[in-house]
Symmetry: C2
Subunit: 150 residues, 2 copies
């Protein structure tokens, strides 16, 4: 499959998800938690495949109708370490994992670029730590976030 | 299905078609004939559903990589007549046909707007004529086109 086709199919799924699931919950006052969203498309399909970021951003704006998260947590880790963890039997190995290490390095760089460009929305969690430390960092970020908006 | 999702799925299919089929044929010096392309997405999903034309154009640019036809023939007909013909048993009735007449009127208006804005590429064929007249108009447009480029 072409990277462009892959990007558009991810965007199709996101478009439907936004209007069918996310917006109704938000309208209800619920908290919506996603483990990937538009930024992942930019990271994997844009930065990873070295495509036109500005144009993919337009496609994503169209797909999401401009809906942006209030808080984004980036679990940052060296690609070598992340890939090794995955192979050892955490989650299932998928097609995207099969790309070369160089690809994952570009993806990480893209994520860090986005996080640094909008430090108010993005919080970087050091995912190389032990699980309980990662969890404690997440809790701290969430407590800080909710203390600001409540 | 959401109009936005529909648009993105059509764009996914077009992206794959462009690189997998159309570009290799063009590189071979072949003539490629399509019975719908990016402009149909603009007409049906953009003008028909009254969406942001500029943004859909960006999504299409991304999908096609900017590939534009040299010649586009618009078979123009009153929606009332076109829909009646279709119901009588020409082609199969599909989901898009089921939209209301108002929708098809907006689609036609969109097509005519695009054709008038780029009269060099678009040629309008009066499809309300008898089939042999329509065919003869097509032949004339093609002869004219090829006489110009050869």
């Amino acid at each position: 499959m072409l990277p462009r086709t892959e990007t558009l199919l991810f965007c199709s799924a996101r478009a439907q998800l936004v209007d069918e699931v996310i917006r109704p919950h938000l309208a209800n006052g619920d908290i919506v938690l996603l483990d990937r969203y538009a930024d992942s498309t930019l990271a994997y399909q844009g930065y990873g495949h070295q495509r036109n970021i500005g144009l993919i951003q337009k496609v994503l704006d169209f797909a999401t109708g401009g809906l942006i998260p209030d808080l984004t947590l980036l679990f940052d880790i060296e690609p070598e370490v992340g890939l090794r963890r995955r192979q050892k039997g955490g989650g299932e190995w998928n097609r995207l994992d099969a790309y070369q290490l160089q690809y994952h390095k570009r993806v990480r760089k893209g994520y860090l670029k986005m996080a640094n460009e909008d430090a108010k929305r993005w919080k970087i969690v050091d995912a190389s730590q032990k699980p309980d430390m990662v969890q404690s960092d997440i809790q701290n970020e969430l407590l800080l976030f909710f203390s600001k908006i409540s």
